[in-house]
């Protein structure tokens, strides 16, 4: 049946919405605060980390406000780590949904990615408003730069989620490898340090990781002149673009091979 592009788009939007609703009820249920857990959970994590870092005096003698530092840092980790975590095994777990012809593998991915990002973003905004409201943190210096950094991290998270998630359909080893990788990447991701604090050699090494650039950009937007930042957005964009292309390619291949083993 000839289906126009606009009609396909409408179907896809509908299916993604249906999958998101399904996921929300499945994961959070209707008891107590229900869907609010979507950002309640990452908020609790971020709060815990902020408290720990404050107690440990984690700003390495710099004059950075530690609470804002922790919130910007840990929220950035949620964007890539949790999003990827949601997408590993997403195909295997939802194979039966594919009997509904409108539901495609990529819809399952998009719905999970969007949901995870919505949760992380809401948690980020609510925490900032909360602490700004009680006067513990300052408002961002440049809102647009913060948003730009956030969007770059979101793009990175989405692309990485597609690559890793699709790769788990080839082999479960990928899933096993992802967990230690995510764990080891966390301290290197720029969440817990500013690149400027490192030695030049370490800076060069750490700046190979794309998410570091996003966090630095976001922190420049947040703190303004009190921090010196190091980032190259065109570098991060190139990596994101490459990951996106690889991810889409792997997903297409994964949906062709679905059920073939």
């Amino acid at each position: 049946m000839a289906t126009t592009f606009m009609r396909s788009l409408a179907i896809q939007r509908r299916v993604i919405w249906a999958l998101m609703m399904r996921e929300v009820i499945t994961r959070f249920g209707r008891e107590n605060i229900g869907v609010l857990w979507l950002f309640g959970e990452p908020m609790l994590f971020t709060l815990g980390v902020a408290a720990l870092w404050t107690a440990a005096g984690f700003s390495h003698g710099s004059n950075l406000p530690i609470v804002a530092f922790a919130i910007t840092g840990y929220s950035s980790v949620l964007m890539w780590r949790n999003t990827v975590g949601r997408c590993t095994g997403a195909v295997q777990g939802n194979m039966n949904l594919l009997y509904h012809r409108n539901v495609r593998v990529i819809d399952v991915f998009i719905s999970r990615i969007v949901l995870e990002m919505a949760g992380a973003t809401a948690s980020f905004i609510v925490l900032l408003l909360l602490f700004w409201g009680i006067g513990w943190i300052q408002a961002p210096d440049d809102m647009l730069l913060v948003a730009a950094g956030w969007l770059m991290l979101a793009w990175f998270g989405a692309a990485l989620a597609m690559v890793v998630g699709a790769a788990t359909t080839y082999s479960e080893i990928i899933d096993r490898l992802w967990h230690p990788t995510a764990y080891l990447l966390f301290p290197l991701s720029g969440a817990a340090f500013m690149v400027d604090w490192l030695t030049p050699a370490m800076q060069r090494a750490v700046l190979l990781l794309p998410m570091v650039h996003g966090v630095e950009l976001m922190r420049e937007g947040y703190f303004g002149r009190i921090v010196r930042t190091h980032y190259d957005i065109s570098y991060m964009a190139s990596i994101n673009l490459a990951l996106t292309i690889i991810g889409l390619f792997l997903l297409r291949d994964a949906s062709r091979r679905v059920g073939s083993k």
């Binding site: 049946m1 299916v15 609703m21 399904r22 949904l97 009997y99 012809r101 073939s260």
Partner: protein, 225 residues
């Protein structure tokens, strides 16, 4: 019209690729009722998955000129922690249908009462089957895919399924896949046999049954190219 042109499906096994369907060709017109007979392991489920679009063929082309249902009364896509109504709403969202007008039919047909608002995980298999069948009837399709298994359920349920599907929707097409010739004999005016990955067409129904019977012998008595 649904058309399968030389559709093959290979699965990867440890010993290399295994061909489950081999150049299957099939044409189904609107309103036609087709039975496909096949022994266990003949490739029936694979054919259903390809027809419903859950999987794509390794080679060949599938053309769907009419809307095709998911396998009738299929319970696999239920999310156990969702209630019966949640599952209805999910299906309706996916197919772009308003769920509220459908509720009376679902309530009446499933006879689940309060359980419709309980998580599916608490259902018995009979309740699950009633819900699954009702959901299949809630969305209108030009062609229904019917896997065996529909025989589950008590006589009353069987009778009601019969009314909904074979009486009220007799103008639709369906493809009924089974290892049981009596079901096919009852509902289909045309039959094919799926044997060793090939779909064999017969002009006369009786020829299909006769061939199918012969494949049930310990050693197949009929050879084919």
């Amino acid at each position: 019209m649904i058309e399968l042109q030389s559709v093959s499906k290979d699965y990867h096994t440890r010993r290399g690729p295994r061909r489950v369907l081999d150049k299957v060709t099939l044409r189904l017109e609107r309103g036609q009722h087709l039975g496909i007979l096949g022994r266990n392991g003949a490739g029936k489920s694979t054919l259903i998955r390809l027809l419903s679009g859950a999987e794509l063929p390794s080679s060949g082309r599938i053309h769907r000129g009419m809307s095709v249902s998911w396998p009738l009364a299929f319970t696999g896509a239920f999310q156990p922690h969702l209630t019966g109504i949640d599952n209805l709403r999910f299906i309706c969202r996916v197919y772009g249908v308003d769920w509220k007008p459908l509720l009376p039919f679902i309530e009446e047909f499933t006879e689940l009462g309060l359980y419709l608002r309980e998580p599916v995980v608490h259902y018995s298999s009979g309740m699950m089957m009633r819900l699954a069948f009702a959901l299949s009837m809630a969305i209108e399709f030009d062609c229904f895919l019917i896997d065996e298994g529909l025989a589950v359920g008590d006589a009353r349920f069987g009778r009601r399924c019969h009314v909904e599907l074979f009486e009220k929707r007799n103008d639709r097409s369906f493809i009924l896949v089974s290892h049981d010739p009596t079901i096919i004999r009852a509902y289909c005016e045309q039959a094919c046999v799926l044997h060793e990955g090939r779909l064999l067409h017969f002009d006369q129904l009786e020829d299909a049954y006769a061939f199918y019977d012969s494949t049930m012998q310990p050693i197949p008595a009929v050879q084919f190219d």
